[in-house]
């Protein structure tokens, strides 16, 4: 059943080989959005196909169709060249398709072995789950992928990288022919990424077809054999990775040259508005100190999991700190809750828009006015006309696209949702605005708009902190960049030091 890794690569010629799994002109429409229009994609045994596209290009919809969560509205799924619908997730599993997700989605309360064998556990002669056999098989499977994990451990006691390995173990346990990896390295450390890449190589060697979704070009060029590029739900291009350059891929992905994206600006930096001294947290970050001036855009760069968002959330009063002090305009401030932060002129645009940034089921105008209710009411009672006026002024300033101000935010595109969140905060007339991955999940057009708007805000004298993991964005927008690694500030870079290599070196600690 399971081949041991280390078998020589089955040499498959993609021109002749039959795709194990393919999408043929698949279309998927959601109310108001065409997520995919007539896209095709082919996966071959022993080959890694990289699926490339901006957030919102339709990659996750493809994953959901391939795993039987969504049904296509048009087109078909082909297994070994035969049309095969996946009406339920189980059908995809039966055909050997398995997915490892962005955030490892498994079961915290179950043991590692159970996570691997849920739904297809070995049975004893009474038809009951054979715990001993299951544990043994899990142990063998895990050691086969070089994971030193006790199968009896509860999943919740494992770190994120180990959970990934368990997810991979699960994929192997169902004798998968197709393994879909949806940004598997996003939350991993440098060393863990190396290990994962080795694992991909060994899966390849076992003849599995792999769909690899990633934003990191270096790893795409390192491990992928083929590529497929999506943009706005359409297939833009595909082919062998050896025959394409990074620049060409980027161009396909964004539909224009990257260098043009960022607005030209002349920083007009004035007095210090925020100074942070010695901010520390028991487990997340330590001794964070810096100053932020009016009209400045301060970038925070680091690998995912370096503690940047955690620190920002502490600065915004969501988590408590164990030590440290903050001053606004030279006066010490106590920030114990987001409400305190807003009162002191610090606002935060979070990375997770759907959960933290916006209230999706409330209309635009109510979202915009939410932190400013005090200003548009008298004696605690709302003035509806003023509320609409407030929402209108910021919606127009941000060039928001919506049917009406009464439209629910959940019905807007990612970019317009982000505009609502920014509008909400600008309406409070803040001194400091923190933007956490401001263009994640934002389409390319809105992305430029968000960047231009950031520049405009800084020009008007607002102090901007931008957390970003995209090097071009960090370099293109920031006046100064603070690099964090493992919860600490490791570098503060400006002017001539602002080079991609320098950033990467500090962030990775090389």
């Amino acid at each position: 059943m399971l081949q041991h890794p280390g078998i020589t690569t089955t040499d498959v010629d993609t021109t002749k080989a039959v795709a194990v799994l393919a999408l043929d002109k698949v279309t998927k429409t959601f109310p108001g959005v065409k997520a995919l229009s007539e896209v095709s994609l082919s996966l071959y045994p022993g080959k890694v196909t990289a699926l490339i596209g901006e957030n919102g290009a339709g990659k996750s919809t493809v994953v959901k169709i391939l795993t039987g969560i969504y049904q296509p509205d048009g087109g078909q799924i082909l297994v070994d060249d035969k049309p095969t619908p996946f009406p339920v997730p189980q059908a995809a599993a039966t055909h050997g398709v398995t997915a490892i997700h962005q955030e490892t989605v498994l079961f915290d309360e179950l043991s590692v072995a159970e996570n691997i064998f849920l739904g297809h556990a070995p049975r004893n002669k009474f038809g009951l789950i054979d715990l001993a056999a299951m544990t043994e098989k899990a142990r063998a499977l895990l050691s086969g992928i070089g994971a030193d994990i006790d199968p009896a451990t509860k999943l919740k006691d494992l770190g994120i990288a180990s959970k990934h390995l368990v997810a991979i173990g699960r994929a192997l346990s169902i004798d998968a022919r197709v393994v879909i990896m949806d940004e598997p390295t996003a939350a991993l450390s440098h060393k863990e990424i190396e290990e994962l890449h080795e694992l991909v190589e060994s899966l390849k060697a076992q003849g599995k077809a792999i769909l690899f979704i990633s934003h990191k070009f270096d790893e795409i060029f390192r491990i992928a054999d083929n590529f497929t590029v999506f943009r706005d739900g359409q297939l833009i291009g595909d082919g062998a990775i050896a025959e394409v350059t990074e620049a060409a891929l980027v161009k396909m992905m964004v539909g224009r040259d990257v260098s043009q994206i960022f607005p030209q600006r002349t920083p007009n930096v004035a007095d210090t508005v925020l100074s942070v001294a010695g901010y520390s947290h028991p487990t997340e970050f330590e001794d964070i100190s810096f100053e932020l001036r009016k009209g400045e855009i301060l970038g925070f760069y680091g690998l995912v999991g370096a503690g940047r968002s955690e620190f920002m959330q502490a600065l915004f009063g969501i988590t408590r700190t164990s030590a440290g002090a903050a001053e606004i305009d030279g006066a010490p401030v106590q920030i114990k809750s987001p409400a305190d932060a807003v009162d002191n002129g610090i606002v935060y645009v979070p990375e997770d828009r759907g959960k933290q940034g916006a209230i999706l089921d409330l209309p635009i105008f109510q979202n915009v006015s939410l932190p400013s209710l005090g200003r548009i009411s008298s004696k605690g009672f709302l003035k509806l006309a003023e509320e609409f006026a407030l929402a209108r002024s910021y919606a127009e300033r941000l060039d928001l696209r919506a049917a009406s101000l009464d439209t629910h935010v959940g019905n807007l595109s990612g970019g317009n949702q982000q505009k609502v969140v920014i509008a909400k905060w600008l309406a409070t007339q803040p001194k400091v605005i923190i933007l956490d991955e401001p263009t994640k999940g934002v389409d390319i057009g809105s992305k430029a708009a968000v960047h231009e708007f950031m520049a405009e805000l800084a020009a008007e004298g607002l102090a901007v902190i931008m957390v970003s993991s995209e090097i071009p964005e960090v370099l293109g927008m920031s006046d100064r960049v603070i690099v964090m690694r493992e919860g600490r500030i490791v570098a503060e870079l400006a002017d001539d030091d602002l080079k991609p290599e320098t950033l990467v070196r500090h962030a990775a600690g090389i």
Partner: protein, 328 residues
């Protein structure tokens, strides 16, 4: 890039239009239908005094239901309300034995309600515990204390002036309780629709994390909601005790479920985030009319509970069945 600034309309549909297609309108039709059916079914129905009596079926419960509606919209629930009535009533009964007068009794009733609400609020907002379990616990605890104090005894001997809160009439057939119910309904409707506080309640119910990230003091708002629910239970305890003229530890048993039913029937989502006071008011009338109408037809109370239970499930299930049937 397209840079022309288009003007976005405030609303596509007028608020009136939205209201016309709402749950509340549907419920109002149900209420009218029941009213008409009742007046045909029994000659005694269309009598001012009988109708006035009928209001006592729901006024006390509805007072609590308004606060409960806000609490459920915010994503929490309080199942201890009926137990708070029992405890507040017991405290008032004990005070009567010590010779406390009417103003003192009212003060004690409301204070016990507030204290119980504060206790629930601290456990839920201060310690971050799930409200459904906490209030199942305090429900046993509060009523349990009543049982410890009273056992199988009862308190009586309430002063004559105290009985006004449960038996008095403001004008002709309009009872004090009904007036209080109407005033409280208006206060809660305004609080929820027109005040900052109500806006925060909706935001929290839709997305507590998002509300906190928007600078709303989520725990404080929820704590106030538990306080309000406790206070309303205290007010209901005063009215009910005054109406019955005695206190037993089993007073208002099972009311928590009737109150939650009233709230859900009124169109408040049990998952939080949506609902109106108008809906709860109509639901209160629907439940009162059903109980009263069946009572006139000599149908026993327990059978009415089938109707109420059926209404609760039916009003939610039927629209969903309809959509499922249509989309086939």
């Amino acid at each position: 890039m397209n840079t022309t600034v288009r003007s976005i309309p405030d609303r596509l549909r007028s608020p009136f239009e939205q209201r016309l297609k709402s749950w509340e309108s549907l419920l109002l039709l149900v209420a009218i239908a029941i009213f008409v059916a009742n007046s045909f079914a029994s000659p005694y129905f269309l009598n001012a005094w009988n109708l006035s009596d009928a209001t006592f079926n729901f006024t006390e419960k509805a007072m609590i239901a308004f606060a409960m509606a806000l609490l459920i919209i915010s994503g929490e629930i309080d199942l201890s309300v009926a137990a708070i009535i029992a405890l507040a009533s017991t405290a008032m009964g004990a005070a009567v034995q010590m010779g406390v007068g009417t103003p003192g009794l009212v003060f004690i009733g409301l204070s016990v309600g507030l204290l119980c609400g504060a206790f629930n609020g601290i456990l839920v907002t201060g310690m971050g515990l799930p409200s459904i379990v906490v209030t199942i616990g305090t429900m046993s605890l509060f009523r349990g204390i009543s049982f410890i104090v009273l056992g199988d005894q009862a308190y009586g001997g309430y002063p004559a002036s105290f009985s006004y809160f449960g038996q008095g009439y403001v004008w002709w057939v309009i009872s004090f309780e009904f007036v209080l119910f109407a005033i409280i309904a208006v206060i809660y409707a305004v609080l929820l629709r027109k005040a900052n506080f109500g806006r925060a309640v909706y935001a929290i119910g839709n997305n507590p994390t998002g509300a906190m990230f928007s600078g709303i003091r989520v725990q404080r708002v929820k704590f106030i909601l538990f306080l309000l629910t406790g206070l309303m239970s205290g007010i209901a305890a005063v009215c009910l005790t005054a109406r019955l003229g005695s206190t037993r530890p089993s007073i208002a048993t099972g009311w928590e479920l009737e109150i939650v039913t009233m709230v859900v029937l009124g169109g408040v989502s049990i998952l939080g985030g949506s609902g109106t006071i108008v809906g709860v008011v109509i639901a209160a009338f629907v439940m009162g009319l059903v109980t009263f109408g069946l009572g006139l037809l000599n149908v026993p109370g327990i059978v009415m509970s089938i109707v109420i239970g059926g209404l609760l499930i039916g009003v939610i299930a039927l629209p969903r069945l309809w959509t499922m049937w249509r989309s086939r």
